[in-house]
Amino acid sequence: MSRATTYSAEEAALREPWEDIARQRQAVEMGMWAFLASEILFFTGIFAGYTIYRSTYPEAFWVAGGHTSLFYGGTNTAILLVSSAAMGIVPSAARWPSLGSFARTMLWVAALLGIAFLVLKGFEYAEDFDEHLFPGPDFEIHERGAQLFFAFYWCVTAIHAIHLIIGIGLVARLAIAGTRDPRWFSQTPAVQATALYWGLVDVIWTIVFVILYLPGRGS
């Protein structure tokens, strides 16, 4: 790649008020980490509530945990982990102009896996409704505290799904804009920022999987 094109690629990715792409990249990454810290505290609120109720009603949570679908939960965990692996390659690959289209393919892979996650989640929700696992008068499990478990189940998975939908939107936007302007794509800090966000959505899910799908399994 000639020097002239390097310069213009950087220029394509440079935004106000920055004068230097390296500094801009540093700032975007830092801002994203600050936002992720905020997101972690956001989920900490709900995880703290879960932890307290689980220590109050250990048996009900154990019984209720057994009613979640390990098949859907496990498959979805695998799907998100694979999507994160695909996403993990993107920030490094995007910087190499020859690997730009490969990086964009990986973005689409991650986005499609995200959609697959949501489709499976939809089937799982339908099944849960059929089994009367939505808290209310017809609730399936009669143990005191089990409704709390499923209140968390619905709230956490729904809030996570909203984060995933936002993530899919960001990834698709990045892939489309990257195809339109590959030079911008090779330099823009948006790649790293999007990958970080995707990573958070995945990490949150692994915690959700452990606390919602694993209680009540084994002896």
């Binding site: 008020p17 830092m30 801002g31 810290a37 905020s38 505290l41 956001f42 900490t44 709390l148 709230c155």
Partner: protein, 565 residues
């Protein structure tokens, strides 16, 4: 100082709106789609001013009701909705955004020698989030209001209340993300955009205040967002989270709520401390006393502030051991606040003090904040708190901190930086009068509340036993004075936009990079990006020394001067 301003005889017909960033466009579009941090600051200023008056009208009606012991002006239900509206609007649509989104937005990049915030579009986006949140609040108000109190305690809010809880909670939720975006923006800006030579310990304390407050915003606000979201989901879908009928714990809501809402007190007061730390050295012509410790105190307050939330719940039935720890930590957090008050006072020592209106407001801040802080120690003590819980003593205490403290500092900042922001001087005599009136009006309003609270007058009641009437009448009369004092700046500052004298670049002879550029500043703040070579607050290091002695350089001055550095 004012004489120099009086001598400025530039013709009044030349409008400042054609200069600097204000001349960038006069269309609505040029404002609504701007990414200039200075213009966004103005958008925020207009927004929070409107909300300040909405919250003010609500409490004016409350004060009218309280003139007589009987519930006769509004119904009990309307009364609940009025004080709730006052609380929600004042906390989330005035106090929390007040100083950071206006003066922080305007000044932070200029104070560190940057052209803008790190993410200008995100900055505009946070204003739109605030506007969406504000629109939801207005909807909630027009639809009939909320009666839960600003604290939204469950299970009343999530199950029983027959008012527009969801709209109110979502308003706060959306506006909260606007504040988080501002916090992220500030943190990144301070880390990555300081001018050459602007080291961390050369940052003006206002910048340090913005930094610490941003960290608190970023880490505390999401917890409130999740708490209100869970409450909303419980109310809307009936999923039990805090509902005791299904084994849920309403206290969990209170813990999560105060995990945000106590740090929120520091979100409101830290920026005020930053403002006062700029104003006092300037009008005392004196280097700020103990700069390093002022920084450490800000950091200590923001860290310890996260671990004192349980003092709002001493009578909630939480563990007695938890009460002990929260009480102890609440005493500890007073230490850095006291350090700050002592250092502001010590800065005055041997200063050449002048009493311009920003200085008057700052003095008001120091005195009222001290009373607010010390009565906070009463309430940190468990036995006294049990006596005073949910009385007007608590109301008076936090109004001394938030109104006497933060709002005074807001007005100090407004007057101090008005020439920089608008390019016009305000009428000083009127401003001094308003500052003094505000101080007295404030004390007339809230000091009687300490007394009646201590005597047992509970908060949130529209009717009360007749023996409290004298205090309520005093308080309502004071509120009328306070209302006039708040309306005055609105009038004379607006007047000054057109008829005020043209402001020089540095009317107060202040240090700080924002004063080195023109008034109003150009779009990119500086013609040439500055290089910082001086320590902050480079006023007179030793304080007042006789002109003759200084000129002669006599050996007498060290004894007289009480050298600090």
């Amino acid at each position: 100082m004012t004489d120099a301003v009086l001598g400025d005889t530039l013709p009044h017909d030349v409008t400042t709106f054609d200069k600097g960033y204000l001349g960038d466009g006069h269309t609505l579009r040029s404002w609504l789609f701007t990414t200039d941090h200075k213009r966004i600051a103005i958008l925020y200023a207009v927004t929070i001013t409107i909300f300040f008056f909405i919250g003010g009208i609500a409490i004016a009606l409350v004060r009218i009701e309280l003139v007589t012991p009987a519930q006769d002006f509004v119904t009990a239900d309307e009364y609940n909705r009025l004080f709730t509206l006052h609380g929600i609007v004042m906390v989330w649509f005035f106090l929390v955004p007040s100083i950071p989104t206006t003066f922080g937005n305007f000044l932070l990049p200029m104070m560190i020698g940057a052209r803008d915030l790190a993410f200008p579009k995100l900055n505009l986006f946070s204003w739109y989030l605030t506007i969406i949140g504000g629109a939801l609040t207005i909807y909630m108000l027009l639809a009939g209001g909320v009666d839960t109190g600003w604290t939204f305690y469950t299970p009343y809010s999530s199950i029983y209340s027959n008012s527009h809880v969801i709209a109110a909670a979502m308003a706060v939720f959306v506006a909260g993300f606007g504040t988080i975006a501002t916090g992220v923006n500030f943190i990144t800006t301070i880390h990555t955009m300081r001018a050459p030579g602007m080291t961390w310990f050369r940052l003006p304390l206002f910048v340090w205040a913005m930094y610490t407050v941003s960290v608190v915003i970023v880490l505390a606000t999401p917890v409130l967002a999740m708490t209100l979201l869970l409450m909303t989901l419980e109310r809307f879908f009936g999923v039990p989270i805090f509902n005791p009928n299904e084994g849920g714990d309403p206290l969990l809501f209170q813990h999560l709520f105060w995990f945000y809402s106590h740090p929120a007190v520091y979100i409101m007061i830290l920026p005020a401390m930053g403002v006062v730390s700029e104003v006092i050295p300037c009008f005392a012509r004196r280097r700020l006393f103990g700069y390093d410790f002022m920084v450490y105190a800000l950091i200590a307050i923001s860290v310890i502030g996260f671990f004192v939330w349980g003092h709002h719940m001493f009578v909630s039935g939480q563990s007695a051991y938890a009460n002990l720890v929260f009480s102890f930590l609440s005493f500890i957090v007073a230490v850095p606040s006291a350090i700050k008050v002592f250092n502001w006072t010590a800065t005055l020592y041997r200063g050449q003090i002048t009493y311009e209106s920003p200085m008057l407001y700052s003095f008001g801040f120091v005195g009222l904040f001290t009373i607010g802080g010390l009565t906070g120690l009463f309430l940190a003590s468990i036995p006294i708190d049990i006596h005073a819980t949910d009385t007007y003593f608590v109301i008076a205490h936090f109004h001394y901190v938030m109104v006497g403290g933060t709002v005074s500092a807001f007005f100090a900042a407004l007057h101090f930086w008005w020439p920089k922001i608008t390019g016009r001087m305000y009428p000083e005599a009127w401003a001094r009068f308003a500052a003094i009136l505000m101080f007295f009006g404030f004390n007339f309003t809230f000091f009687p509340q300490f007394i009646m609270g201590w005597a047992g007058m509970p908060r949130r009641y529209g009717s009360y036993p007749p023996e409290f009437q004298i205090y309520h009448v005093l308080s309502s009369a004071g509120a009328a004075v306070l209302a006039i004092a708040y309306l005055m700046p609105l009038a004379y500052l607006t007047w000054s936009l057109r008829w005020g004298r043209r402001a020089p670049d540095n009317p107060w002879r202040a240090t700080g990079l924002e004063w080195q550029t023109s008034s109003p500043p150009p779009t990119h703040n500086f013609e040439k990006l500055p290089i910082v070579e001086n320590e902050p607050y480079d006023y007179h290091p030793r304080g007042y020394v006789d002109q003759e002695h200084e000129a002669a350089g006599t050996a007498e001055s060290p004894q007289k001067g009480g050298e600090q550095r």
